[in-house]
Amino acid sequence: MSQTFTPNEMMTVAAARALTNDDVCFVGIGAPSAACNLARHTHAPGIVLIYESGTLETRPNVLPLSIGDGELCETALTTVSVPEMFRYWLQGGRITTGFLGGAQIDRYANLNTTVVGPYEKPSVRLPGGGGAPEIATSCGQIFITMAHSKRAFVEKIDFFTSLGHGEGGDSRKKLGVTTKGPTKVITDLCVMEPDDKTKELTVVSLHPGVTKDQVIAATGWQIKFAPDAGETPPPNETELKVLRELHARTKAAHGGNA
């Protein structure tokens, strides 16, 4: 049975599938939040979702607009202070998977959410790193979700907000970082994983209908493809239904003046 879906839906579904029932996730706003909650409503009902606002094991019925929406606290197992969240829970090494995104990413999955242009005199001042610098190194692994474009997937990021695989190879190890770092970059065009050895991002599957040329055209460096890169399995009916219902509930909740 074939269904139409948007590239963004494909990205969210692919991210959701990468999560397991045993994961403890540090969730960001936007696509990560949609992916984590989709996973929770489908194949991973036991997944633990943590938002940096302090909400532990939350089960939101609608997606939060902000990282600290009331919905997150009301449906949480408990809510801790922000210092405790960053000290006992994130730095304490209790998170299996953290989500990140950014304005720019390079071939080693290093991210920039700080500035476009030089730091001191940026052409665009972005919101900044927030939790990213420590999420990038404290979580067991990192999933990155981003819209795929040449503006975002660049040869050289303007600022190293958070560490991916540094300059590749054993960069993380040399910095004394023991966690895996980015293990998947999921875009609206494809899924990438770092090469085992070089740590350079490599396309491992193309979303249905997406060509290699599209990916090449949307990437600012000479992107590599795994020899066995196939097609990302499309979203199934249940996934699309659950995701769309989630978005519909969210829109209804946020649109009005509650």
Partner: protein, 282 residues
């Protein structure tokens, strides 16, 4: 012991030109009414500190109250950028603003250290990150037991902390519930503090023996301002006005629409306008 004051009195007495001010709130309980009062009282050269500066700092900066912002994530959550902050930082309108930038972990630890009376905090942070290159206050120490290098951040230094909370009792003890952020640490870190609350009650009756309560003697002034966190929210009272956060993006995008909105909704109004948002939903 906390004094019960009007909002105008509390700001007049506790916020001075040039002060280091934290108006904390991690999405929840953001003290908007107090921020508007600071704007009406035309404070200048404030050094604003907050992990997640959002609309209220955008408003303070756009109205020329600030000269510095210390932060870890400055944006309109889920919506986009702070246009007034950007305009000040990139174009110097209405005045140039300096920034001191940290990560969330660093800021959270800096508040914690200040509340604990320490001059600095140690955390495992910034590995492979570039911020230490541009922020000279990020340093490191060596663990005397393992030899591990760890990052340090100086404790926040605050003249005044301003927070919003659910309620105070008649002695001035304050109860916070829900997403409590770093508000307790901010109050304990500051030389002075102003707390706006939804309600003043005879008995605080915290639901748990371990509820988050600030004793009256840690607070300088308590002010009842129902709805005082709008468009942020107060757990147990009213929800976040997400539609307003989205609308702000348009209002703040241009200088003239911003100025007109501030004139109509802040300069010509008083804290009583917040009461319209103060319905108890719990």
């Amino acid at each position: 012991m906390a004094e019960f004051l009007s909002l105008a009195q509390a700001i007049e007495a506790n916020v001075k030109d040039g002060d280091a001010v934290a108006m904390e709130g991690f999405t929840h309980l953001i003290p908007f009414a107090a921020g508007h009062e600071i704007i009406r009282q035309k404070r200048k050269r404030l050094s604003l500190i907050r992990m997640t500066p959002d609309l209220i700092y955008d408003q303070l900066i756009g109205m020329g109250c600030a000269e510095r912002m210390t932060f870890s994530w400055g944006g309109n959550p889920g919506v986009g950028s702070l246009h007034r902050f950007r305009d000040a930082y990139q174009n110097g309108w209405p005045n140039q603003i300096e920034i001191v930038e940290h990560s969330h972990a660093a800021m959270a630890n800096a508040y914690d250290a200040a509340a604990a009376g320490l001059p600095f905090a140690v955390f495992r942070g910034y590995r492979g990150a570039e911020l230490p290159r541009v922020n000279p206050s990020i340093k490191e120490v060596i663990c005397p037991y393992t030899g591990e290098k760890l990052a340090t951040v100086p404790a926040v230094k605050l003249d005044v902390a301003i927070i919003h909370a659910q309620k105070a009792d008649r002695k001035g003890n304050v109860l916070l519930e829900g997403i409590v952020g770093v508000q307790k640490e901010a109050v304990l870190a500051a030389r002075r503090s102003v707390v706006t609350v939804e309600e003043i009650v005879d008995e605080l009756n915290p639901p748990s023996p371990n509820s988050v309560v600030l004793p009256s003697w840690t607070v300088k002034a308590v002010v009842q301002v129902p709805g005082g966190a709008h468009p942020s929210y107060t757990h147990g009272y009213y929800k976040r006005d997400n539609a307003f956060y989205k609308a702000w993006d348009e209002i703040a995008r241009e200088r003239d629409t911003f100025t007109a909105w501030m004139d109509e909704n802040v300069l010509r109004k008083g804290p009583e306008v917040f009461a319209a948002h103060a319905k108890k939903v719990a």
